[in-house]
């Protein structure tokens, strides 16, 4: 078996998500090739070659791949797909954008968001916001798969020594162009790979009040997340959303503050190792998944918590 | 606390018990097919659950407030009302010629239940508008109809009913507000009290329907006329003109429905408020009576609507709250107080009573629908009799029972129920008005034994009993022990009621039946509710044998009916004792002995 993975990178560095996908590929077993497509991305290709378990890096450098445009990336993947038994993507916004195209172009089913590998053709994936786990089996000639990164422990980004091969670019699609981006700047770790996440919900009442969360996050070196309600209300930007339709996180510690615990939110965090809930309503469903629950007004509890962390 | 409209239960009554399909066959009601009505109920459930319900507690805490410049409704009210109008909910049952949808009353009642469950104070505004529209539609000239109805049907103008005066509440003969002829209109002067939504900031204009006396009017009820008195006069082109000489001088501080402004209205402080006569002089009260059935029915719907909200809240609390080891809990995690048998008793009482009341109200509405549209005159007359007979039961019984159920809802919460923050108390406070306005329960009872029973020599009642006997036969025939158990209690209750009715009719001294008429009203309400819930059991039992039947749902329907039969119908039996034996002692202690 041979597995192709579309590597994700930004700012000249491999995104951590790719290390989780390699882990999933190792669970499937077989030769692992990593495709690094980008503009001036040779340093990335070199870094990719060092990832544990990678046998080969395919490097394609072209302006078409500067901005992760789905049309261009999928065409490239399909152009080299021949011979692979599996093609894997991270189930990130970027990966979800490309994976289904590749599947469709190869006329096979896409398998979204796997959380476990049963065998080379059988996988487990959550459905219904994680209220059920489906075991699915693929008879397709090539398995095109999205990997839920939190479900696989990242492999080491060193220790490997793969060879780097150059592959030819495919003509860029002229119907689509990148205009710009508005990325939130944060000194905090990235949400999906952070060891600790602290999220705020509608109970925070305003964006300004998230300062209290930021303060604690800084002390714990945690990432900051939010419920949909907090994002919809404009307290924090969209990329903070944790849940069925936002980001899935599974840190060592997840602290939910002023979040009721709707199933759509739980879907994004209930695989966290330790869950703490702070909510003034003792009936809030979030307490049903919490390892430690604190029934309290967050406006008292957060300043106290911040102080206690100094000690 | 959230509200989720019981769409499935409501649809079950409409489709399987009262037979919406038959009503949709009537000319003019063709739109009211099961799938259309299903879609309407779904969207109404969304709207009431998402927009109206969240404002219920805000409305209670903030209330409407009065100032010189007018009445301000609570935060969020105005926006919700414009969404309500925008979506066209107010126009559901109104005639199509004035922009309504012309849907049957059974459908509009089903939708209105949701308004009142979600937010009773809010629901009152369109409810009053509906009363005013009915009155104008049935009795006013075409000119007045064209001028006022389209905007009222749309909901951008509201309507009010101005009957009550300080000295004239139940006894409207005592009305003193005066109307002087002045060319093509009249000048109205006087004070009205307790006028619901007499002033508010939700609509561009308010169309007051005012009962008043002409200078030459005969004394008493035969001398009262009905007038349209708009807050802003309406120009010939339909635009708004001058402000009329009327104002809201204060609003009441009340036990409940805080957001619904209850206004003292002063007409004609200066030159006199311009009013337009509806129909003929001195016929005002008669006009009021023709539309009274609808208004009273609507208040009855309010009665169980609010109880449904209280029930949902109580049920949710009972599942979560844990106190001690329960007898019915199956595991450690299953120890909510809902598993204490007595808490079950309360919840079953609430749920089964609500289903009985809903069944009765929708049956009554369906009777009016058939009475309005059926091609056969005899059927029309029979259904009109049925609707009129059931109306005082819907109003009187459902509102009184609604209060009791809201009180039970508080009980489920224990001490938390008494604490305002929980929200259970609000339902009880809100529910308390329903047995008072639109004619107190005593007046409903008088209506039942007087106008609705004695006047037609008991014909309507006998027809009702005959239909009940048919249901009894179906229950007895069914191959189901639960239905047989229902039949047993239903049979006894029917004969108790029959004997009591005979006793009532046989009294020569009016004091005796009058002393226990409210008991009789309750007895008949319980029995008629029992009939409806028994019919739902019969329907559920038939559906059980169909492919893909929703057995848990249908079994629950049957068991709710059996509970009702075994727990509520025996009160009909005891009612007989109370009515026939307590009348004398009721009136035998002199006032100065009290």
């Amino acid at each position: 078996m041979s597995i192709l993975i579309l590597a994700e990178h930004e700012g000249g560095e491999i995104r951590p998500a790719t290390l989780n996908v390699v882990a999933a590929a190792k669970a499937i077993g077989g030769d692992i090739s990593l495709l690094v497509a980008g503009l001036n991305a040779s340093s990335v290709a070199e870094a990719a070659a060092k990832i544990d378990g990678v046998a080969k890096v395919l490097h394609c450098d072209d302006a078409a791949y500067e901005h992760e445009l789905a049309e261009n990336l999928s065409a490239l993947v399909v152009s080299i797909a021949e011979g692979y038994s599996h093609i894997l993507f991270a189930a990130t916004a970027a990966g979800k954008n490309v994976m289904p195209r590749v599947a469709a172009l190869l006329d096979v089913s896409g398998i979204s968001d796997i959380t476990d590998v049963v065998s080379e053709d059988t996988f487990i994936r959550p459905i219904y916001a994680g209220n059920a786990m489906a075991t699915v089996k693929s008879a397709d000639k090539v398995k095109v798969v999205g990997v839920r990164t939190t479900a696989f422990d990242a492999v080491a980004d060193s220790g490997g020594s793969a060879g780097v091969e150059t592959v030819a670019a495919v003509a860029a699609n002229d119907q689509v162009s990148f205009v710009g981006q508005e990325l939130s700047k944060s000194d905090r770790p990235e949400l999906t790979s952070a060891e600790i996440v602290i999220s705020g919900g509608r109970g925070m009442q305003s964006g300004d009040n998230f300062v209290m969360i930021d303060e604690i996050a800084a002390k714990l070196n945690a990432a900051v997340g939010a419920s949909r309600a907090a994002v919809d209300a404009g307290f924090v930007p969209n990329e903070y959303q944790v849940g069925q339709t936002g980001k899935v996180v599974a840190p060592n510690l997840y602290i939910a503050v002023g979040i009721s615990g709707a199933i759509q939110h739980l879907a994004g965090m209930k695989d966290s190792k330790v869950i703490v809930a702070i909510n003034k309503d003792e009936e809030a469903p979030i307490f049903q998944v919490a390892d430690y629950g604190l029934v309290a007004d967050l406006f008292d509890a957060l300043p106290e918590l911040s102080k206690a962390l100094d000690g | 606390m959230t509200y989720t409209a019981p769409v499935k239960d409501i649809s079950f009554v409409l489709n399987k018990v009262i037979g919406l399909r038959e009503i949709a066959k009537l000319e003019g009601f063709e739109e009211a097919t099961e799938d259309m009505v299903g879609a309407i109920l779904e969207e109404s459930a969304r709207f009431t659950g998402e927009v109206l319900a969240p404002l219920n507690s805000v409305g209670d805490k903030e209330g409407s407030t009065w100032s010189e410049s007018g009445v301000k409704t609570p935060e969020g009210w105005k926006d919700a009302y414009s969404q309500f109008v925008e979506a066209g909910w107010g126009a559901l049952a109104f005639p199509t010629e004035y922009g309504g949808q012309g849907l049957p009353m059974c459908v509009s009642s089903a939708v209105q239940e949701m308004w009142h469950s979600a937010n009773m104070s809010f629901g009152l505004c369109p409810l009053l508008t509906q009363g005013a529209v009915d009155a104008i539609h049935h009795h006013a000239s075409d000119e007045l109809k064209d001028r006022y109805l389209p905007k009222m049907v749309e909901g951008v103008w509201s309507g009010t009913m101005n009957l009550t005066e300080p000295q004239a509440g139940t006894d409207l003969a005592a009305i003193r507000t005066s109307a002087e002829p002045a060319g093509d209109h009249y000048l109205i002067k006087g004070t009205k009290i307790f006028i619901t939504y007499g002033e508010q900031d939700l609509t561009e204009n308010i169309v007051h329907l005012v009962l008043a006396r002409l200078p030459d009017a005969p004394e008493g009820v035969k001398g009262i006329s009905l007038f349209i008195v708009p807050k802003f006069l309406v120009n010939d082109d339909g635009s708004l003109g001058e402000r009329n000489d009327l104002k809201c001088v204060s609003i009441e501080h009340k036990l409940g429905i805080h957001a619904s402004p209850t206004c003292v209205m002063s007409y004609g402080d200066n030159a006199g408020a311009v009013g337009y006569l509806v129909g003929k002089e001195h016929h005002g009260l008669m006009y009021m009576f023709t539309m009274m059935n609808q208004a009273r029915h609507a208040v009855g719907v309010e009665g169980y609507g609010i109880a449904e909200r209280a029930y949902q809240q109580a049920l949710s609390y009972a599942k979560d709250r844990k106190q001690g080891q329960t007898l019915l809990g199956k595991s450690e995690d299953d120890q909510g107080i809902v598993n204490h048998p007595d808490v079950r008793r309360i919840l079953m009482t609430m749920r089964s009573s609500i289903e009985a009341m809903r069944g009765l109200a929708l049956e009554c509405a369906a009777a009016f629908d058939i009475a309005a549209k059926h091609p056969d005159e005899e059927v029309r007359a029979r259904c009109q009799r049925r609707g009129e007979l059931l109306t005082p039961l819907v109003k009187g019984w459902s509102t009184e029972l609604g209060v009791e159920l809201c009180s039970l809802g508080v009980q489920v919460h224990g001490g938390m129920g008494f604490i305002e923050e929980t929200g259970a108390a609000q339902h009880l406070r809100d529910a308390r008005i329903a047995p008072i306005y639109e004619g107190t329960t005593a007046i409903q009872a008088n209506d039942l034994i007087g106008r609705k029973t004695a006047r037609d020599g008991g014909q309507g009642l006998m027809e009702l009993m005959a239909d009940m006997t048919e249901t009894l036969g179906q229950l007895e025939k069914a191959d189901n022990t639960n239905l047989k158990a229902i039949a047993k209690r239903f049979k006894v209750a029917m004969s108790s009621a029959e004997e009591t009715g005979k006793w009532m009719l046989g009294q020569n001294d009016a004091t005796m039946p009058s002393a226990t008429s409210v008991e009789f009203l309750m007895m008949m309400g319980r029995l008629a509710g029992g009939w409806m819930i028994a019919r739902s059991a019969v329907a559920a039992n038939q559906l059980r044998s169909e492919d893909g039947a929703d057995t848990p749902f249908l079994d629950a329907k049957i068991m709710l009916a059996r509970y009702y039969a075994e727990r509520m119908l025996p009160l009909v039996e005891s009612g007989k004792t109370i009515i026939t034996e307590s009348a004398e002692s009721t009136v035998s202690v002199a006032v100065d002995q009290l």
Partner: protein
């Protein structure tokens, strides 16, 4: 321009999914079903584009059981003009759905297709991307803003690090994200009119589209349960437990 919108009938988002005893799937008999929330956003967006004068007709397409007609009627009640149901009792994979959409696209030639980014039942997040790949229509997924600029669209997308804007040429396939708009409530007169709007029902077999799939569901299980936790008395106790018991800080 004509806009084609996909609407899927799914278990209502308020209802907790329960796994069937025989592990073959989720219990869907006699439970409340509704339009997939992302599809409501899709219908809303199409209607707004029409109201802004960018489109003449909004067509809603559902693929599923007969009851999906209700979902289509919901879309028509919101204001869409016409509905198409491709009827099937099978649970089709996104690839088959995308092929059926392509079939309709070829017949209807819409200038835009708007789909939800995912259906909240299978959570696949694939159909829009597949449709774009199969038809060559431009792709703009996870949209939080759509601006029409002549024969181009400027689409702001929700990505992992924030927002990005791309410019795509029409015809395009859009998939909606949560912040794109807030769907309207249906108006009563429109609910009633919806019944009279045309709704064409086509059997899958009559489309000639191959809907077979290489993917099969072996079984569906409950997710692992979390062990019950404890309620702590105060912040000090919480911090102590996190440090000394769970050892996570």
């Amino acid at each position: 321009m004509k806009i084609l919108v996909g609407v899927k009938r799914v278990l209502d988002y308020n209802v907790k999914a329960r796994v069937k005893a025989d592990k073959s799937g989720i219990e869907l008999a006699n439970v409340k079903m509704s339009m997939n929330p992302f599809d409501e956003i899709a219908v809303e967006e199409a209607l707004r584009l029409k109201e802004a004068g960018h489109a003449e007709e909004v067509v809603v397409l559902s693929i599923g059981q007969t009851q999906s007609q209700e979902t289509i009627r919901t879309g028509l009640a919101m204001g869409a003009d016409r509905g198409i149901l491709i009827e099937t009792d099978d649970l089709l994979e996104p690839l088959a759905i995308a092929k059926l959409f392509k079939h309709v696209v070829e017949k209807e030639s819409p200038g835009m297709v708007v789909l939800g980014k995912q259906a909240i039942d299978d959570d696949s997040n694939q159909t829009a991307q597949m449709l774009s790949a199969l038809t060559g229509m431009s792709q703009a997924t996870f949209a939080s803003k759509v601006e029409v600029d002549g024969d181009h669209l400027n689409v702001t997308r929700e990505v992992d690090a924030g927002l990005e804007t791309i410019r795509v040429k029409s015809p395009a396939v859009i998939s909606t994200d949560l912040r794109l708009n807030e769907p309207r409530y249906a108006k009563l007169p429109n609910i009633m009119k919806a019944k009279k709007k045309p709704l064409e029902v086509i059997a899958v077999a009559d489309t000639g589209v191959d809907v077979s799939s290489g993917l099969s569901v072996v079984e569906v299980n409950e997710p692992p349960e979390r062990e019950a936790g404890v309620i702590v008395g105060n912040v000090a106790e919480l911090v102590d437990k996190l440090r000394n018991e769970a050892k996570v800080i």
